[in-house]
Amino acid sequence: MSDKPFAITLTVGSSLANKTGAWRTQRPWYVSRQPPCATACPAGQDPQQWLYHAEEGYYEAAWRGIMAVNPFPAVIGRVCYHPCQAACNRASIDEPVGINAVERFLGDEALRQGWTVPIGPLTGERVLIVGAGPAGLTAAYHLTRLGHAVTVRDANPRPGGMMRYGIPAYRLPRDVLDAEIARIVAMGVTLDLGRPVGDLRAELAAGEFAAAFIAVGAQRGRHTEIPAGDSARVLDALSMLHDVAEGEPPLLGRRVVVYGGGDTAMDAARTARRMGATEAVVVYRRTRERMPAHDIEVEQAGEEGVTMRWLSTIAEVGEDRVVVERMRLDETGFPQPTGEYEELPADAVVLALGQDADLSLLSSSPEVAVARGAVTVGADLMTDLPGVFAGGDVVDGERTVTTAIGHGTRAAAAIDAYLRGDAAVPAGPVREPATVDGLNPWYYADAPAAVRPRLAAARRVDTFDEVVGGLDVDTALFEARRCMSCGNCFECDNCYAVCPDNAIVKLGPGKGFVVDLDYCKGCGLCATECPCGAIDMRPEQT
């Protein structure tokens, strides 16, 4: 304005003519890092991605995020040992985010709301899946979404595999399992039950199926030679759990000894308590620390009155007792006999010494390599027999429902690619890991994990009611919001606020931010004050 005194009085905002971006030697760069929860998930889920929706109360969107990978949120929300939480960066601040509990809440909410998943246009291709367990049903779900016609065959009269016949109802209520399976079946999957597949080659000879997925699981309980009297009752844990699941519980008596140290042993002992056993003793040859069973299982078993005998082997089984030999660990940590014996009263002995897969269906397919009881597969889970894939407990790896679901998902993708004639499954972008030292934890308020209510331990022993309760709407939201969004912008506006030069442009909800390079001097405040480490400073090339 000319009426203003020359030079002494200036027009407001005229500094915009001075492009201070020229001072910059480094520039902020918005990045997306791989959160540890996603890295750790055997099912290949990215919990952060769906928690983001859950934080806002968009539960259906969150649930669909899960369903993109895992069709069993309600099941996994109960039976998963959640390695995601073990990896969670929040553990270094207070406690890990209860990802698993939120997943269960979302799974249950979906069942309450009756949410369904659409299927794609039919391709006309048919796929055979052997085994209606988590791996098989997951593969069936994804293939069906992709438009392929899927037939699932299983020897058992009911679907679910280990989810039904291995995991007791107090850990996984059957109505939940049935509902999530029913949702898959409703998509058009053909279930062919009570129909074991004896010879895969013969099965595929008809050419009805363009591809097959072997997911028969490991159903056969391992045995060991123990001298036993004629009248001694020795059962196998798997068949015991199977019979209980089928409603034909075996007679065990008042005093039960379970032999083994895995989760199955805990399941057997806790089931025995529920079947009326006054004493349930777990005998294991190593120490608690070396026990393969997950802590939560051991802990809950203890709460339910199950007792443990570490460093012990069963030498002999009599009519109403077992003879136990004490062991000691040698320097390699291997148990060695001590020659010291004692007796335990026992009406029945349940063997939980691990399981093997029944691979007889491959007996006429020698080209399919098998090593140490597991089918050999490539990265795409395909066997040596083109078009024949395998996953779940029949291949090498951790034998959990979560891992099986991961296999099912990967196999489905691989089978789809195979059917389309694509070479490899397109791999997702490789992201740098979001480590805890990349965070600025100051900005995260302290928060304890939401309480997961439990039924009184006393009630568990005579009922198969679910032991661990779920989160309600409030606590689910609470838990979801504890996520720190490691390595990925969650629009906290810090970068926008801390820039001394107003050089961060806010694009609006969901759109994030961009740097105005006309004015950014490259001070790096935005990167330092980004809570989740989603901004890098990169040198300007000169």
């Binding site: 009426d3 005194p5 020359f6 030079a7 002494i8 009085t9 200036l10 027009t11 407001v12």
Partner: protein, 393 residues
């Protein structure tokens, strides 16, 4: 209205008639009676709306005036001597920012040695601070100059200093026609600032200016200051017509028509000079007086014209530059470019008597006056002191 009234009171009432809106003040003799009177008028509600603030220092007082003026309020304050010097930084800022503040300086000497009596060393020390400087010859003039000062300041967006001799005028009870409200209102429109701090139309006032523009800023300020030489006579005429009396503007000649010796001076000494001139004329000495009202900007042309035919020019100084001599003399010389006499008189309240002035005129006309003379200097005392320090000359 004609009143027998103390100069400070007359000035305070003239200022009040100008409706100042913010008056910050810090007390210092001999300015006190002016701000006391204004404080009373504000408290009594007869000057409203107006904010009277007691500042924590003269520096603070001028700073408050700067803020008030920049925010669009008519601001006034008064000070003297050390107080004016304590304000110096803010004085330059007020003129640099072009804020039309009006301030009375009740002229007083500067210490050390500490003193309270009248001379013009204080205002003279600020002759270059960018303010317009007007010097009152008597209390009527002082009262009228304040009314004129507000209009002039606001026309030019420049601060104006009205200088009146401390005690000699501020404490003298004389006959004054105190400007009445209707006359002032007719002459002085409400303050319409050139620039104002307004959230509705924001500007940034007080930028840092470097070599690329500072010279131009200063040159423009100089032109604006010179503009006062055109406006002052017009305003004096206009206001004089309204007030019904003559209001001395840039310069005032007295018996200069046939004068061959002229005394140039500022302030209250002009009255005494007129008496002295009258009496020496009785002795046949054709003397005259040129009174200067507007010292900044300096009216070179008017002074040149007034002294055109004069053979001898004496500049009577109420202040002096140690190591140099006359202050006003330098300005007068650059106006006339002919040799002149500098007489330093009445420092720190030493009376300037008609007798001494007559003697001065006689010496001047007989060429016995030294180029730099200290009127009524106690030569014996000086000689004794010089001897005492062994610095006899």
């Amino acid at each position: 209205m004609l009143r027998q009234i103390e100069g400070s009171r007359a000035v305070a009432e003239a200022v009040a008639a100008c409706r100042p809106q913010v008056i910050p003040a810090y007390p210092i003799s001999p300015q006190t009676h002016i701000v006391e009177a204004l404080a009373e008028l504000v408290s009594a509600g007869s000057l409203a709306p107006c904010e009277f603030l007691t500042a924590e220092s003269e520096f603070g007082a001028m700073s408050v005036a700067i803020g008030a003026s920049a925010a669009g309020a008519r601001a006034y304050t008064a000070t003297a001597s050390q107080g004016l010097l304590f304000m110096v930084e803010a004085l330059y800022n007020a003129s640099g920012l072009g804020l039309p503040i009006v301030m009375t300086v009740a002229n007083r000497a500067i210490g050390a040695p500490i003193n309270i009596w009248n001379d013009q060393s204080d205002a003279m020390s600020q002759r270059d601070c960018g303010w317009i400087q007007l010097y009152a010859r008597d209390n009527q003039h002082a009262a009228d100059l304040h009314v004129l000062a507000f209009r002039l300041a606001e026309q030019l967006s420049l601060p104006v200093m009205v200088c009146m001799d401390g005690f000699v005028l501020t404490h003298a009870v004389e006959r004054v026609d105190v400007p009445d409200q209707s006359t002032v209102d007719a002459f002085l429109p409400p303050f319409a600032p050139r620039q104002v701090l307004d959230p509705g139309d924001p500007v940034s006032i007080g930028a840092m200016v470097g070599p690329e523009a500072f010279t131009e800023v200063r040159y423009l300020a100089h032109l604006r200051n010179l503009d006062a030489l055109e406006r002052i006579p017009a305003l004096a005429k206009e206001y004089g017509a309204l007030a019904g009396r003559e209001v001395p503007g840039l310069v005032t000649p007295y018996r200069m028509v046939d004068a061959d010796i002229a005394v140039v001076a500022l302030g209250s000494v002009l009255g005494t000079l007129a008496d002295a001139v009258d009496s020496v004329r009785a002795d046949g000495i054709r003397a005259g007086v040129l009174g200067i009202t507007a010292y900044r900007p300096f009216p070179f042309e008017q002074v040149r014209q007034a002294l055109r035919k004069v053979r001898r020019v004496v500049v009577l100084e109420r202040a002096f530059a140690v190591g140099v001599g006359g202050i006003v003399s330098a300005d007068v010389y650059s106006a006339i470019r002919t040799p002149l006499w500098t007489v330093v008189a009445g420092l720190c309240g030493r009376p300037v008597t008609a007798g001494s002035l007559r003697g001065m005129l006689r010496e001047a006309t007989t060429d016995r006056l030294k180029p730099l003379t200290f009127l009524d200097l106690d030569h014996d005392r000086v000689r004794r002191e010089l001897r005492a320090v062994g610095g006899a000359r």
